[in-house]
């Protein structure tokens, strides 16, 4: 009897796997094979045109990335981290405040939709709208500054303000999705805790810092990790708003440099090596974030 049941289970498992095969096939074709191919490419020199011209160069591409004076380490990776930290911090703190407030407002769905709208707008359109806003000669922001008697700010043309200007756009863009997740997290916190605390005489700040924030940790962790990973991978805003990461390399980030190395310079090996370095960095940062939050106790409430 047991043998028959075991056979039946095996048969069911096999059928299950068979039904999963198209998904596995799709995954292998569009993720696993390209992943392994790019890992292989990172040890080669290839112009991206003819597979027969791939040349094995060992660790040369990685050595080139980490050589002294390499622009990849400074300023490109530095910019990537500044951009990721900047956008995450900006969007996270604003989203935290906004989500707390709108969960206490009437028409919550309307406010959430309003904040989420930029997220569903194409990033190219957003980049171009902000380009107009930042324009030093006829942009709205500079018009206002001039009306206030202040100097024109060359937001994207001045290396000292260019990256910060893009971070503001990236941060603004990220608010909507963070608000969505955080407000869902806030709604999932049972009211009983707050009521019990209020009976004990807890004030608004005590409620927020002692109950809401600790119980919101799983949502915060999710928002921080996904936003940070997104920030490290992002390059569209730099591409749209500066075209090439300029002035100089002041807004150049890892993703943009990879794209240029592969499609502009025909250095697919270097681009692949950059991708794997970035992968290792993202992986390490994610593990670190997970460890930090687990120590704080995010498992359940």
């Amino acid at each position: 009897m047991a043998n028959k049941r075991s056979k039946l289970n095996r048969g069911q498992a096999l059928t299950g796997y068979l039904f999963l095969m198209p998904v596995f096939g799709f995954y292998a074709l569009f993720f696993l094979i390209p992943l392994l191919f790019s890992l292989y490419l990172s040890f080669t020199e290839w112009g991206g045109f003819d597979l027969s011209l791939i040349k094995w160069v060992g660790l040369d591409n990685y050595r080139e990335l980490f050589r002294e004076g390499s622009p990849f380490l400074n300023p490109i990776i530095k910019n990537t981290f500044v951009f990721a930290f900047g956008t995450v911090l900006l969007s996270f703190f604003i989203a935290l405040a906004v989500s707390y407030m709108i969960t206490r407002l009437k028409y919550e769905g309307f406010w959430r939709t309003l904040y989420f709208l930029p997220t569903v707008t194409t990033i190219v359109a957003i980049g171009n709208v902000w380009l107009y806003l930042y324009n030093p000669t006829n942009g709205v922001i500079n018009e206002v500054l001039r009306k206030l008697g202040l100097q024109t700010v060359r937001f994207l043309d001045d290396p000292s303000t260019a990256l910060a200007s893009i971070i503001v756009v990236g941060g603004w863009l990220g608010i909507g999705s963070s608000v969505l997740i955080l407000s869902a997290g806030l709604k999932a916190i049972p009211e009983d805790y707050n009521e019990a605390a209020m009976l004990e005489g807890a004030g608004l700040w005590a409620l927020y810092s002692k109950i809401t924030l600790p119980l919101l940790k799983p949502s915060i962790l999710f928002v921080l990790i996904t936003s940070f990973i997104g920030g490290l991978q992002s390059f569209t805003l730099s591409l749209v708003m500066t075209k090439n990461g300029g002035p100089g390399n002041s807004t150049n980030v890892g993703g943009l440099e990879m794209y240029n190395q592969a499609f502009n310079y025909g250095n697919w090996g270097t681009a692949s090596a950059m991708a794997f370095v970035l992968f290792v960095i993202i992986f390490a940062v994610t593990l670190l974030q997970l460890a930090v939050f687990r120590r704080g106790g995010v498992e359940s409430y």
């Binding site: 048969g11 096999l14 059928t15 068979l18 039904f19 095969m21 198209p22 096939g25 799709f26 074709l29 569009f30 112009g47 991206g48 045109f49 003819d50 011209l53 004076g69 324009n135 030093p136 000669t137 001039r146 100097q151 024109t152 060359r154 043309d157 001045d158 290396p159 075209k243 090439n244 300029g246 002035p247 100089g248 390399n249 002041s250 240029n260 592969a262 499609f263 502009n264 310079y265 025909g266 250095n267």
Partner: protein
């Protein structure tokens, strides 16, 4: 049960393979159906230029019902990336318009097909040496030279006149002092009219005017054999410092787009290639009469210098229709169809107010008349005689970007010419060594 499993496995395997085949299929063998060959032509002739190219393509398509040409225009900034992405994905274009600077990179990856012997012979005997060099990679011809362009000074006669100048500057010092005098600012210090400005936006539009100025001082980017970078010279330092002075002294503003401000008569002088005259004529309408051109000023006012770059029509080495592609290119570049001019010559004249470099076109009465009457065109045709050809090493695009980023760093005040040039020299030398 076993039969069911076997059927399921077969069905799913076939489905997965079908998805895979669909995703990985190549366009290289496509383009032929019922005896009609369809050639795709990838170029940066987009927008108004596409409209001006189209009548000639339509004429070919009408006269050759079995070889149809389909235009695939993309912006200049996206052309190399598009070629690269399409080639890698197997979606190759049969005919490509290629900037000579990319020649080394494309040649190294064997993207361009060898032309037939008669095409090579025709090119060698009907185009000037600079044009043949521009369409060659490592001394081997790969296609028909098209836009052979040199750089010169564009100036606004009215703005110069208003400032008391009847003639354009001849020396660097004159250009600087005239630009300073012509620059106008509002009460807040915002520049309303800049006396001189460089174009910005991408590598070649910044590098080429800089290298043209460098040429007037006797400098070059690379040695003739393209093995050594030449940016460690005093000439390079002097040139970069000279260009940066326009920004540091408030004569030019990095935020001002010369592409918009010159036609709006808010920039008095700039350095650009000959094709820009056609764009200005279309944008400025009647105000185009105020546009003048002159050789680029030099340090001593005597030496003439400029940079010349070339484009070429080439055929993709992966194209299955190479014979038909060369037949079309042969017609487009060599057969007179109107006023004794080839389709290419007519197109260049219509779209850019530029002259074809093909001897038969140059001998046509229409071009002779045009050259005799159009002073702007003459400036650039003369500049081709003394301009240095732009080098096209295998890492050409990357080298161009290295220089561009260092120039922008200096112009934006991030660094100085003294600090930037050794970095550019070192990085460019490393790229040349890797080739």
């Amino acid at each position: 049960m076993n039969r069911l499993v076997a059927r399921s496995v077969s069905l799913m395997t076939v489905s997965a393979l079908a998805v895979g085949m669909a995703a990985c299929s190549s366009d290289a063998g496509k383009g032929k159906s019922s005896g009609v060959v369809t050639l795709t032509l990838l170029s940066h002739y987009a927008g108004p230029q596409e409209e001006q190219l189209k009548p000639y393509i339509d004429q070919w398509n009408k006269e050759n019902p079995n070889i149809q040409v389909k235009l695939e225009p993309v912006d200049f900034g996206e052309l190399l990336k598009t070629i690269s992405a399409k080639q890698t994905a197997g979606k190759v274009a049969d005919i490509m318009h290629v900037y000579s600077m990319w020649g080394g990179q494309l040649g190294k990856s064997k993207v361009l097909a060898d032309p037939p012997a008669d095409v090579v012979e025709d090119i060698k005997s009907n185009y000037p040496e600079a044009a043949v060099k521009g369409s060659s990679i490592g001394g081997k011809v790969y296609g028909y030279p098209t836009e052979v362009q040199a750089y010169a000074l564009f100036y606004n006669k009215k703005l110069l006149k208003d400032a008391g100048y009847d003639n354009p500057p001849r020396t660097w010092d004159e250009m600087y002092s005239m630009a300073k005098k012509m620059t106008k600012k509002d009460a807040s210090g915002k520049i309303e009219v800049q006396g001189f400005g460089f174009n910005r936006g991408y590598a070649s539009i910044v590098d080429q005017p800089f290298l043209s100025l460098l040429a007037t001082a006797g400098g070059t980017l690379l040695s003739d054999d393209m093995k050594k970078a030449q940016l460690d010279s005093d000439t390079a330092k002097k040139t970069l410092e000279y260009t940066a002075k326009f920004y540091t002294d408030g004569i030019s503003d990095l935020s001002i787009s010369v592409g918009k401000s010159f036609p709006a008569e808010q920039t008095a002088m700039t350095i650009q290639a000959g094709w820009w005259a056609g764009t200005l004529a279309g944008t400025m309408k009647d105000l185009y009469a105020n546009v003048g051109t002159a050789p680029i000023p030099s340090p001593d006012g005597q030496t003439k210098g400029s940079l010349a770059y070339t484009w070429m029509w080439g055929v993709n080495s992966k194209s299955k229709n190479q014979k038909e592609a060369w037949a079309f290119l042969n017609w487009f570049n060599t057969k007179p169809i109107k006023d004794g001019l080839t389709p290419e010559a007519n197109f260049l004249l219509d779209a850019f107010n530029s002259v074809s470099s093909r001897k038969t076109d140059l001998n046509a009465q229409k071009l002779k008349d045009k050259l005799a009457s159009d002073t702007v065109l003459k400036t650039f045709t003369d500049a081709l005689q003394y301009a240095k050809p732009e080098p096209n090493p295998a890492a050409g695009a990357e080298i161009q970007d290295i220089l561009y980023k260092q120039i922008e760093s200096v112009w934006s005040g991030q660094t100085t010419a003294q600090q930037a040039l050794p970095l550019a020299q070192k990085d460019i030398q490393a790229k040349l060594a890797a080739d």
